[in-house]
């Protein structure tokens, strides 16, 4: 079994934290993993992405082939669309529906959401609002991970929840609990 995932967003939105949690869970589960990231310009508000590949077999390429991704997880709706040529026929798009407009020529929002919602398999939520309403303003990315959890398949939601505890352990019990709550909010929202 294998899962090819593209994580997308804007610099600073926390996609590498999502990658860290999935990576930790995969390592604990004994899966093979490759995860290519973008560094360098990433803090400067540009688009960022990470190719995350999980498999029970040997993985060769650090990069996912076009038309081969099983899942796009995006912190921003336009960034989700950027990687459509990489999605396979049955692939899912799990994304925040909240646009992040830091460019003057951001597309017309209605048309953008229409294009996104026309995809056969898409789950979109205003994750920032969900996080804020539940007093978890810094955990929108983990809400998104929760939304994606049931589509990751090669790892169970429980394995991901345990990995949240390990990844945030150094920040204290409260932070762990907040992130697990955020995860559950996302998980339950797409049921």
């Amino acid at each position: 079994m294998k899962k090819d995932i593209i994580l997308a967003g804007v610099g600073g939105q926390g996609i590498l934290t999502i990658a860290t949690i999935i990576g930790d869970a995969a390592t604990h589960a004994g899966l093979n993993l490759k995860q290519a990231e973008v560094h360098g310009m990433s803090q400067r508000g540009g688009d960022v992405q990470s190719n995350l590949r999980l498999s029970t077999d040997l993985i060769y390429s650090d990069l996912i082939k076009q038309g081969a991704a099983d899942l796009i997880i995006s912190m921003e709706p336009m960034e989700a669309l950027r990687y459509l040529p990489y999605l396979n026929q049955e692939g899912w798009v799990v994304t925040s529906s909240h646009p992040f407009k830091n460019i003057p020529n951001y597309p017309e929002e209605e048309a953008l959401m229409q294009e996104l919602n026309s995809l056969p398999q898409v789950a979109a939520l205003p994750i920032e609002d969900v996080a804020k309403e539940n007093n978890l303003p810094k955990s929108a990315n983990v809400v998104l991970l929760g939304m994606a959890a049931k589509y990751i398949e090669i790892l169970t939601p429980e394995q991901l929840r345990e990995s949240i505890a390990r990844v945030f352990a150094s920040k204290g019990e409260k932070i762990v609990e907040a992130n697990q709550l955020a995860f559950d909010l996302g998980l339950n929202a797409v049921k």
């Binding site: 560094h39 310009m41 540009g46 650090d62």
Partner: protein, 529 residues
């Protein structure tokens, strides 16, 4: 199963070097190589690891450590090899005593670089062995191998990686650490004093080692062929990370044999054997067609070679599983086309960044002078080229802002303004400023000092707290070294000072100084904890 640690390619190199018993790492930050030195700084207090002023000083210090019998690592991005080249090429002539590995991280497709030069050429013309790992595990394992090779051949070893390996994570199995070498300075001065008589003898020795280097490559555990003596239409020679992209396309199923190359000089016997078996060969290498050219001369012009030179693979840009698959005849199925509602999202200077205020001020004053030209440099502030600033007229190489401004001023450009960051100034700007002072060039130099090497993530900057002293020491007149705080509320003062210094006929230096927003926020976060 042994325990595996999840490591970036850069971190695997770092841990491999620590476990190979290095005593020092010498480096200037540069994407995609920076994380190697950062990892060693964070995990091996016994290893000397302070950032160097530039790649040349790093290379020379590492050579000194190797002279003294200990193992040293030098890390840089590909363009850093140009800065280190004088020391690097001559280190092949001196040879080494303790092991010396030079790590060059190339950036095909120029994700964060101004060119995509291939560092393997430096190894080739310096006549040195080159290693090119294809995986994080190989990157880790190869460090111990590289130091053993370096000490047995008495030569530096060049290790070359690309962005996609440097910045990709995978599980790595690690071994026990070796102890560091003891102090044992080389005593044969004729190896090290490169007077022509000595240099000729040393160079002859280097040339004489070439058959040994070839034999090492032919027997290398990192060069593997899947030759099966069945005749094939097509075979593949895959170098370094390109091997992954080839294997991703299931060449076994296609009946395509693969020769993997991760150690150079190229293993000639294995390549000839592949050529015997196959009607044609595809050369898959990330970067420039170095191996393709060599194989062409090895097999003769009549042999059917495919690669970047023939257009079977793109002439420039990084390899991907897609373009390698296409060269192997694999179709890409792409159910979803490019989206309609999509715009590029380029990076920008952070909100609140001092460079923003510097460019606001420069743009205001430059608008008053028809002939104004602003020569930029390498760093975050290169983003001043993009909207909304569109402020700079050039960005070429580390330090070129000052020297290009001088040359342009010599030619009659007025005002000729240079914008350079603090770390770039100490890297390669100081010598150019001395040229300008000695020639009394009519230039205005802005050293935009954010107290860090920001572009690569906030490493210490070599000149922090020393810039006024450096400028005065080089000979800038004291009344023309001006320090300002780049904030919107100071705009009137800053623009007035820029005007005054443009009107001064000679070299002046303006130092806008305010801490980088990223490092400031990190400090505040750490304080809270």
């Amino acid at each position: 199963m042994k325990e595996r640690i999840l490591l970036l390619g850069d971190e695997a190199i770092a841990l491999g070097a620590i476990h190979a018993g290095i005593s020092g790492v010498y480096a200037y930050p540069g994407t995609p190589s920076t994380e190697i030195t950062e990892f060693i700084q964070g995990h091996a207090p016994e290893v000397r690891s302070r950032w160097c002023t530039n790649e040349k000083t790093a290379m020379e210090a590492a050579l000194g450590m190797a002279y003294a019998g200990k193992r040293a690592l030098v890390c840089m991005k590909h363009v850093g090899m140009n800065v280190a080249a004088d020391a690097f090429v001559n280190s092949a002539i001196t040879g080494v005593n303790g092991g010396l590995v030079v790590l060059a991280a190339d950036d095909p497709s120029m994700h964060s670089s101004q060119n995509e030069q291939d560092s393997r050429f430096y190894g080739k013309f310096s006549l040195l062995p080159i290693l090119e790992p294809s995986t994080q595990q190989e990157a880790y394992d190869m460090m111990e191998y590289a130091y053993a090779l370096s000490e047995s051949m008495k030569l530096p070893v060049l290790m070359r990686v690309v962005t996609r390996l440097a910045h990709s994570r995978a599980g790595v199995e690690v071994k026990e650490a070796l102890p560091q070498n003891g102090l044992n300075p080389e005593t044969d001065r004729t190896h090290w004093v490169l007077l022509p008589a000595n240099a000729r003898r040393q160079y002859a020795g280097l040339v004489a080692k070439q058959p040994d280097l070839l034999a090492s490559s032919e027997a290398s555990p990192y060069n593997q062929s899947a030759i099966n003596n069945q005749k094939s239409k097509l075979g593949v020679i895959a170098c370094g990370i390109a091997y992954n992209y080839v294997m991703e396309n299931n060449p076994q199923e296609l009946g395509i044999p693969v020769l993997k190359i991760s150690q150079y000089p190229i293993p000639e016997a294995a390549i000839k054997a592949m050529a015997e078996q196959c009607e044609s060969l595809l050369i898959a290498e990330d970067g420039q067609p170095l191996v393709e050219e060599q194989v062409k001369s090895l097999l003769g012009a009549d042999y059917a070679l495919k690669g970047r030179l023939t257009g079977d693979l793109p002439r420039m840009g990084e390899l991907t599983p897609d373009n390698v698959g296409a060269a192997l005849g694999v179709n890409i199925e792409q159910p979803y086309a490019k989206a309609q509602n999509l715009m590029p999202r380029p990076p920008a200077l952070c909100q609140g960044c001092g460079h923003r205020d510097v460019y606001d001020a420069l743009n205001k004053v430059a608008a008053e002078y028809e002939g104004a030209r602003i020569f930029g440099d390498i760093g975050c502030y290169t983003l001043g080229a993009l909207p909304p600033f569109r402020a700079i007229d050039s960005c070429v190489d580390m330090g070129a802002s000052i020297t290009m401004a001088k040359g342009a001023a010599d030619a009659g450009v007025f005002p000729a303004i240079a914008v350079i960051g603090d770390s770039t100034f100490t890297h390669s700007g100081m010598t150019g400023l001395l040229d300008a002072i000695n020639d009394n060039a009519n230039i205005t130099v802005v050293i935009s000092d954010n107290l860090t090497t920001a572009m690569t993530g906030g490493q210490d900057s070599a000149g922090t707290n020393k810039f006024e002293a450096i400028c005065l020491g080089l000979g800038v007149a004291p009344e023309h070294v001006r320090v300002v705080v780049p904030l919107p509320k100071n705009m009137e003062e800053i623009t007035r000072i820029i005007r005054e210094e443009i009107e001064y006929k000679g070299v002046s230096v303006i130092i806008p100084r305010r801490e980088c927003m990223q490092t400031l926020q990190r400090k505040l976060r750490n304080k809270k904890k």
